[in-house]
C-alpha cells in the first residue's frame, strides 16, 4: 500500500512554503523516520520525515512552492518486501536523469556545482543551455569552499573581470522574509532611536562574585542578558506605553512580558520569545535563552517559539559593535540594542576614572511612544543595570 507524504502543519499563520531540498531520490528505499525533505517557510526551515518504510516516488521537484497538507511523495510499503537484495549500484552517474539536460550542461553541473534546476533556461521550452550554465557559473564562481577558509589575499588589480569576483546566490525564504519585514518596519513605523550609556561595573561585580555558586546551582552561566531582561521588564512596568502596539486604529496594551531575543544563526536572524519574563528567575531566563538559541541554530525552532513577543533585545555587542540603531521587530513598538563593553574614562564625583561602559540604543515607534517615554524607559534600564538593587526594591 502506498502512504502519502504530506507537508505537515506548521502553525496557524503558515499556509505554504518551499520544498527546498529532497534528501532522497525518486525510487529510493526509505526507512521509517528517515529525513525526506527540507521545508522552508517564512519563518523556519524544518525537516519532513518518513512515516513508514518503503519505496518512495517523488511528486514535486525541489524548489517547488507547496501548501500545508499537499502530497509531495508516496511511499510504497509493498516495495520493501519485493526489493531485491540491494540493487547493484552503477559505478557512473545514472543513465537517465530526471531532467533531460544536454551533455555540456551535465558536465558544467558536475564541474561548477551549479544546479541546472535552479537556472532559468533560454532553450526550447525553457531548457537550460550551456550558455545559461556558463552565465550562472560566472555569476557564482567561488567553488563551494569551507566557510572557515581565511579570506583570500586581495586580488591583484585587474587580475579578473569584476563578474568573476562576485558571487550571486538566491536568497533563502527566511532571508527574504527578514528583508521584507525590516523594510516594512522602516516604512510603516515612525522610527526613532534614543541613546544612553551605562556603567557595567556593578553587574560585572555581581557576576564575578556569584558566578561559581550560580553555575554550581543552576548549571548555566550568569550572563548579562538576564540582567538586561530583568531591567527591561522593570522599565516596561514603569513606562507601559512602550509595552503596546498599534493595530490599525487601535492601541493594544500588553499586560505581560514576553521578550524577544535576537539570535544570529548561519541561516539568518531568528528572534525566539522568552515567555513571562516577569515571573522567571535569573537562572530560568539564562536557561531559556540558551535553549532557544540552541534550537534556533539547529533549525529545530518551532513557529510558536517565534510568535507573540512584546519587546525585543538585540545584542550587537557580542560582535564588537560600539553603537547602532536597531530596526523594530514589527508589530512591536520598541527594541533595545546592547553594545560592546569598553573601558572608558568617565567622570565620577569630579574624578576621571576608568569604567567598563556600554552604549544603549532604544529604537521606538514614535507614532505610539513619545520621546519622554522612550528616554525615561532607557534611563530606567540604565539605572537598573548600574544599580541592580533597584530591581529588588522596585525603584
Amino acid at each position: 500500500m502506498a502512504i502519502e507524504v504530506k507537508i505537515p502543519p506548521m502553525g496557524e499563520s503558515i499556509t505554504s512554503g518551499v520544498l527546498a531540498k529532497w534528501h532522497v531520490q525518486d525510487g529510493d528505499l526509505v526507512a521509517k523516520d528517515q529525513p525526506l525533505f527540507e521545508l522552508e517557510t517564512d519563518k523556519i526551515t524544518s525537516e519532513g520525515t518518513a512515516e513508514s518504510a518503503g519505496r518512495i516516488s517523488l511528486k514535486v521537484a525541489a524548489g517547488t512552492e507547496v501548501k500545508i497538507g499537499e502530497v509531495v511523495a508516496a511511499i510504497d510499503e509493498t516495495a520493501l518486501a519485493a526489493a531485491a537484495p540491494a540493487a547493484p549500484v552503477a559505478a557512473t552517474a545514472p543513465l537517465a536523469s530526471a531532467h533531460a539536460e544536454s551533455p555540456a550542461v551535465r558536465r558544467l553541473a558536475a564541474e561548477t556545482g551549479v544546479d541546472p534546476a535552479g537556472v532559468a533556461g533560454s532553450g526550447k521550452a525553457g531548457r537550460v543551455t550551456k550558455g545559461d550554465m556558463l552565465a550562472a557559473a560566472e555569476a557564482r564562481p567561488a567553488a563551494p569552499a569551507a566557510p572557515a577558509t581565511p579570506a583570500p589575499a586581495a586580488p591583484a588589480v585587474g587580475a579578473a573581470p569584476r563578474a568573476e569576483r562576485q558571487t550571486r546566490t538566491k536568497m533563502t525564504k527566511l532571508r527574504q522574509t527578514i528583508a521584507s519585514r525590516l523594510v516594512h518596519a522602516q516604512h510603516e513605523a515612525a522610527m526613532l532611536t534614543t541613546f544612553n550609556e551605562c556603567d557595567m561595573s556593578a553587574v560585572m561585580a555581581l557576576r564575578a562574585r556569584y558566578q561559581d555558586d550560580f553555575v554550581k546551582k543552576h548549571g548555566v552561566k550568569l550572563g548579562f542578558m538576564s540582567f538586561f531582561t530583568k531591567a527591561v521588564v522593570h522599565a516596561l512596568r514603569e513606562v507601559p506605553g512602550v509595552n503596546a502596539r498599534i493595530d490599525g486604529d487601535t492601541v493594544v496594551q500588553n499586560h505581560y512580558y514576553d521578550i524577544s531575543m535576537a539570535v544570529s544563526t548561519d541561516k539568518g536572524l531568528m528572534v525566539p520569545v522568552i515567555r513571562e519574563c516577569d515571573r522567571l528567575g535569573m537562572a530560568e531566563i539564562e536557561k531559556a535563552i540558551a535553549e532557544a538559541a540552541k534550537k534556533a541554530r539547529e533549525g529545530r525552532i518551532a513557529l510558536t517559539d517565534l510568535e507573540g513577543g512584546v519587546f525585543t533585545i538585540t545584542n550587537g555587542g557580542i560582535f564588537g559593535s560600539m553603537l547602532s540603531t536597531p530596526i523594530l521587530n514589527a508589530p512591536q513598538s520598541a527594541i533595545l540594542g546592547l553594545h560592546a563593553i569598553n573601558e572608558r574614562p568617565v567622570a565620577v564625583n569630579g574624578q576621571v576614572v576608568i569604567r567598563p561602559m556600554m552604549y544603549l540604543a532604544l529604537s521606538y515607534d514614535h507614532r505610539l511612544v513619545d520621546g519622554r517615554e522612550a528616554v525615561t524607559f532607557l534611563v530606567k534600564v540604565k539605572q537598573a543595570i548600574e544599580d541592580p538593587a533597584r530591581l529588588l526594591i522596585g525603584a
Binding site: 551533455p103 555540456a104 558536465r107 526550447k124 531548457r127 543551455t129 550551456k130 550558455g131 556558463l134
Partner: protein
C-alpha cells in the same frame, strides 16, 4: 456550390501539408491545383525528379570513372537516356500517387483547375470542362513560384529552357550553358555533365552559391571544376544568338557556344491569374504576398505560405508554413522557426548549411569560434571514397551556443539535420562533441567539428 472550412490553392509541399494537417485537426478541406497530380513543382518537376536524375547520373559517373579503382570490371558502360528518364518519371509517379492516396484517406476534396478569387471567401476553379465556385471560411494561397525569365532571352522550351525542360532533355546536349550558379543550375549542370555534356555555368556574382561562406565556395568550386564543370563567375549574360551565349566580365567580352541554355537565375512568386487585386491582397515590392508573423494576408481569412511569401523558397520551409497555418486556423499553437531553415545543394559533394555562416556572423560583428573537421580524417569517408570536403561548426565565442553550420561533403544534406536539431534545442558545440555518434559513420565528422570549436578534436590537430 461547395463550402469548406479551408480551401488551399496549390498542392505543392506547402499546400498539401497545410490541407492534410487541417484535415487531421477535423476541418473540412479542399485542395486545388491546376496539375492533374498533387505535389506541385517540387514533386512533379523540381526537387524529386532532379534527385532521381542526380542519383542515376552519379551511378553512371561512378561506373565510368571510379568502378575500376574498386576492382570492378564493368566492360563498356553506356547510357540509356530514355530508360534513365523513365525511371525518373516512375519516381515522380510513386511520390504523387502516394499523395493522392493520403488525400483520399484524409477526406481532402481534391479539385483540378485554375483558381481565381471571386471574393475573399469565394474562389472559382476553372477545370477542363466546367468552372465551379467554392466557398471557404479560410483560403490559403500556396501557389508557389515559377522560373524567372530573362527579358532578352525568353524561354522557348527548346534552346532556352528552364528547369522544367532541363529535367527531360530527349538527348544529352553536347554543350550546355547554365545561366545561374545556384542550387538548381549546379544540380542540373552536374546531371548533364555526368551524362556527357560540356557544361559551362555562368554566374553574375563573383562566386557561385553566394549564400555560403567563401572558404566553402572556394573548395566547392574547385571540386566541381575537377569534375569538368566550367565555372564562369562575375559574368553578365547579354544574349543568346546563333548557338552562342554572350556575356561580359567588365570590359571583357565572353562567348560560350551552346546547344542548349538552361536559365536558372531564380524563381519568382507565382500569383498569375489568382485575382488577388480583385479582393485586395497586398503584395510587397518584389511581388510577394505580404503576410504578418502568422502568415495572414491583408485580407481577413486569406493566408499565404511557401514560395509566394518572403523567405527562402524551399519545400521544407513551405511545409512548416503550411502545418503552422493549419494549426492556427484550427485554433492551435502553430510553430515555425524561420531562423533554422537548412539549405542544401544536391551536387557531389553536397553543400548544406543552417543558421549563420562564419562570414555572415563576422560581418554582423558577432564573436564566434569555428570548428572544422575534414572528411579526409574520417574512416568511413576514406572507405567510401568520400574524403572531399569538411564540416564547419560556428559557435558563439562566449556561450558556445551553435549559431550555424556549413558542410561540404558526400551526403551533407543528411548530416545537417543533426545540427539543426541541436540548434533547435539551444545546443552548444560541446553538446555535439559529447553526443555519441556511431562508428564508423560520416556523422562522426560533425562530432569532431563540434569538439574542434574548443580545439579538442580527437582525429585532427
Amino acid at each position: 456550390m461547395s463550402s469548406y472550412d479551408l480551401l488551399v490553392i496549390g498542392a505543392g509541399p506547402g499546400g498539401y501539408v497545410c490541407a492534410f494537417r487541417a484535415a487531421q485537426l477535423g476541418l473540412k478541406v479542399a485542395l486545388v491545383d491546376k496539375r492533374a497530380t498533387l505535389g506541385g513543382t517540387c514533386l512533379n518537376v523540381g526537387c524529386i525528379p532532379s534527385k532521381a536524375l542526380l542519383h542515376s547520373s552519379e551511378h553512371f559517373a561512378f561506373a565510368r570513372g571510379h568502378a575500376a579503382a574498386h576492382g570492378l570490371k564493368l566492360g563498356s558502360v553506356d547510357l540509356d537516356l530514355p530508360a534513365l528518364l523513365r525511371r525518373k518519371d516512375e519516381v515522380v509517379a510513386k511520390n504523387v500517387g502516394g499523395l493522392a492516396l493520403l488525400a483520399k484517406a484524409r477526406k481532402v476534396a481534391v479539385l483540378q483547375g485554375e483558381a481565381a478569387f471571386v471574393a475573399a471567401g469565394t474562389v472559382a476553379v476553372k477545370g477542363a470542362t466546367e468552372t465551379v465556385e467554392v466557398t471557404a471560411r479560410n483560403v490559403v494561397i500556396a501557389t508557389g513560384s515559377a522560373p524567372v525569365e530573362l527579358p532578352f532571352m525568353k524561354f522557348d522550351g527548346k534552346a532556352v529552357v528552364s528547369s522544367d525542360q532541363a529535367i527531360a532533355f530527349a538527348a544529352v546536349p553536347r554543350r550546355l550553358v547554365v545561366v545561374g550558379g545556384g542550387a538548381i543550375g549546379l544540380e542540373l549542370g552536374s546531371v548533364w555533365s555526368r551524362l556527357g555534356s560540356e557544361v559551362t555555368v555562368v554566374e553574375f556574382l563573383p562566386k557561385i552559391v553566394a549564400a555560403y561562406d567563401d572558404d566553402i565556395v572556394r573548395n566547392f568550386s574547385r571540386l566541381l571544376a575537377k569534375q569538368g564543370l566550367r565555372l564562369e563567375t562575375g559574368a553578365k549574360v547579354t544574349g543568346f544568338a546563333s548557338g552562342v551565349l554572350t556575356a561580359e566580365r567588365g570590359a571583357e567580352k565572353l562567348a560560350f557556344p551552346a546547344d542548349q541554355v538552361l536559365v536558372a537565375v531564380g524563381r519568382r512568386p507565382y500569383t498569375d491569374g489568382l485575382g488577388l487585386e480583385r479582393i485586395g491582397v497586398a503584395l510587397d515590392e518584389r511581388k510577394r504576398v505580404k503576410v504578418d508573423a502568422q502568415l495572414r494576408t491583408s485580407v481577413p481569412g486569406v493566408w499565404a505560405i511557401g514560395d509566394v511569401v518572403a523567405g527562402p523558397m524551399l519545400a521544407h520551409k513551405a511545409e512548416e508554413d503550411g502545418a503552422a497555418v493549419a494549426e492556427w486556423i484550427a485554433g492551435k499553437a502553430g510553430h515555425i522557426n524561420w531562423d533554422l531553415v537548412p539549405a542544401i545543394v544536391y551536387t557531389d559533394p553536397e553543400v548544406a548549411s543552417v543558421g549563420l555562416g562564419e562570414d555572415a556572423a563576422k560581418a554582423a560583428g558577432r564573436e564566434v569560434r569555428v570548428g572544422k573537421f575534414n572528411f579526409a580524417a574520417n574512416g568511413r569517408a576514406i572507405a567510401a571514397d568520400a574524403t572531399d570536403g569538411y564540416v564547419k561548426i560556428i559557435a558563439d565565442a562566449k556561450t558556445d551556443r551553435i549559431l550555424g553550420a556549413q558542410i561540404l561533403g558526400r551526403g551533407a544534406g543528411e548530416l545537417i539535420s543533426e545540427v539543426v536539431t541541436h540548434m533547435e534545442y539551444g545546443g552548444s558545440a560541446e553538446d555535439l562533441g559529447r553526443t555519441i555518434h556511431a562508428h564508423p559513420t560520416m556523422s562522426e565528422a560533425i562530432k569532431e567539428a563540434g569538439l574542434a570549436v574548443s580545439k579538442s578534436a580527437i582525429h585532427a590537430l
